[in-house]
């Protein structure tokens, strides 16, 4: 089973006096949903970029199935907060982008793109232009585009950060559906405490100065949803509220009140 692993990774950007992240280790298996949370400046996105191969660690190592990560690759597809879609392409062509790069014939990649659009519940939006879609629909296209690359892992950098609260809530269950259907490992960065609880199988709490892990929570709420339990019932569970309080404490631990 392939693992995406960070081993004592330190990230130090050029011209910065202190590292952004110091000696952080993570291990994500296929089927895990790991969520990074923490206050601004704790290096969440830096870690995600190291896993993506977009940022090289100053020390330590990132590995994919045991092999060092030196560049981005379709085995670790990234979805960004600002969808980063291509406005000159239709929704379908955006989704098919990774297939086009591989030289998949046009009819075959259109068929696959339509399947993926259906998976993210955008059955009839294939011919739409990107600017005709709402923020939530764009993020669905972004997710479908990432899944088209047939990744082992999805790296999500605050994918729901730019959405309104209601859309965001609906997208959280969509993410869980995709995670279950696509059988991928997920590494996600978010600012949302409830979002982390709803989605994660593991929540890693980071603190700044330089970024380090303060606590790790093993959670099961996302798995319960994937197993069929309604999301409202899960959120109403006393365990949910209790974990939420612990998580909030962990995030703000050490910060002057």
């Amino acid at each position: 089973m392939p693992h995406l692993a960070l081993d004592k990774v330190t990230v130090h950007y050029d011209g910065q006096p202190a590292p952004a992240v110091e000696r952080v280790s993570l291990d994500i298996g296929k089927g895990d949903f790991v969520v990074l949370v923490g206050r601004s400046g704790c290096g969440k996105t830096s870690l995600l970029n190291v896993a993506a191969g977009l940022v090289a660690p100053a020390r330590g190592q990132a590995t994919m199935a045991g092999r060092p990560i030196t560049a981005p690759g379709p085995d670790r597809a990234v979805v960004f907060q600002n969808d980063a879609l291509f406005p000159w392409l239709t929704a379908r062509e955006n989704v098919a982008f990774a297939l086009r790069l591989r030289g998949v014939p046009a009819d075959k990649r259109a068929r696959r793109a339509d399947e993926l659009l259906k998976l993210v519940k955008l059955d009839n939006a294939g011919d739409k232009r990107i600017w005709e879609l709402s923020g939530g629909m764009r993020q669905r296209v972004g997710l479908a585009r990432a899944l088209a690359a047939e990744p082992e892992f999805l790296l999500l950098d605050e994918p729901l950060g730019a959405l309104d609260a209601l859309t965001r809530e609906r997208m959280q269950t969509t993410l869980l559906d995709l995670w279950a259907a696509a059988q991928v490992g997920v590494l996600m960065v978010t600012h949302g405490i409830e979002e982390a609880l709803v989605l994660a199988t593991r929540i890693v709490v980071l603190a700044p100065g330089p970024g380090h892990v303060v606590r790790t929570f093993e959670t099961h709420f996302g798995r319960r949803y994937a197993a069929g339990e309604p999301i409202r019932a899960i959120k109403a569970d006393a365990a949910f509220a209790a974990t939420r309080a612990d998580l909030t404490d962990a995030i703000f631990e050490g910060e002057a009140a």
Binding site: N82, F86, W88, A98, E132, A148
Partner: protein, 286 residues
């Protein structure tokens, strides 16, 4: 104009908006568009009226300011019988083909150069100073050199115009390339794009709006240079026609030539904007 409330409008209606606004933007009260056009039309009419009055009253000698009627008459004569051995259509064709040949040269050279400036340090180091020093030189200054090097044939004329077009095309391309969002490139790379694929599938399309703007500016520069280019050994062309007329103080032909160039430049501008709407409809709407 608020963002986020775009309503779709049929493309045919885009002409109603002024050029700064976006075709799918919120429909504005119709009168705003009409009155702007009306003001333009009235301005032109007022200028024509002032011109007619001063010419008719002989406020200015016809040698300096021929009447609109005289200019119109010259247009008809030039179109039918020609002026200096060529009809107006032949002059226009000669000038247009020079400008467009030069535009092709400027695109073929300028877009790759702009791309190199935008994506590589070496490219920027090599081409940026060259372009920046070439840009302010007036065409009349390098015209003699071009003639010495390449003779007095058609290639020299095209080259003079192309040099004037090169900087706007290359610099607009470079600006467009540098403006491509980091996330778009990173997303493409994480989907498996090689460096070449990133350039072809992400950087170039992202830079297209900027490149098209560059072409529009380049066409303007090209028309400005046309007269200089046709100074040397031309037998046809609007610039040549104007210069020949000027030597014999045929002011009505000079004015007719100027108005023809203005009309053509205006029409080309309109066409390019149409092309922009068709090719890069996403501009300003992300």
């Amino acid at each position: 104009m608020s963002v986020g409330t775009y309503t779709e409008r049929p493309a045919a209606k885009t002409g109603e908006n002024d050029w700064l606004s976006v075709p799918w933007s919120r429909p504005r009260p119709k009168r705003a568009g009409v009155s702007a056009r009306l003001i333009s039309a009235l301005t032109i009419l007022a200028l024509l009226a002032a011109w007619t009055v001063s010419a008719e009253l002989r406020l200015v000698s016809p040698v300096f300011l021929p009447s609109p009627a005289a200019v119109w008459a010259k247009l008809v004569v030039a179109a039918r019988d020609g002026f200096v051995d060529a009809t107006l259509a032949q002059h226009i064709t000669a000038s247009l083909s020079r400008v467009f040949a030069a535009l092709v040269v400027a695109i073929v050279v300028g877009v790759p150069v702009g791309l190199a400036i935008g994506i590589s340090k070496v490219g920027r180091g090599v081409f940026d100073p060259l372009l920046e020093s070439l840009r302010p030189i007036p065409p009349l200054a390098y015209l003699p050199l071009i003639v010495i090097w390449f003779g007095i044939g058609e290639p020299s004329k095209i080259l003079v115009i192309a040099i004037a077009m090169l900087a706007p095309v290359a610099l607009s391309t470079a600006a467009g390339v540098r403006g491509v969002s980091r996330e778009r490139i990173d997303a493409a790379r994480s989907l498996g794009a090689t460096r070449g694929q990133v350039v072809r599938h992400v950087v170039l399309p992202s830079a297209l709006p900027s490149i098209l703007t560059g072409l529009r500016i380049a066409l303007g520069a090209g028309w400005s240079t046309l007269v200089a280019a046709e100074l040397v050994a031309a037998t046809r062309g609007l610039g040549f026609m104007i210069q020949s007329a000027a030597q014999f103080l045929v002011t009505d032909v000079v004015m007719m030539g100027i108005l023809v160039i203005a009309t053509i430049a205006f029409a080309l501008e309109f066409i390019i904007r149409r092309i922009e709407h068709a090719l890069v409809p996403w501009t300003g709407r992300q």
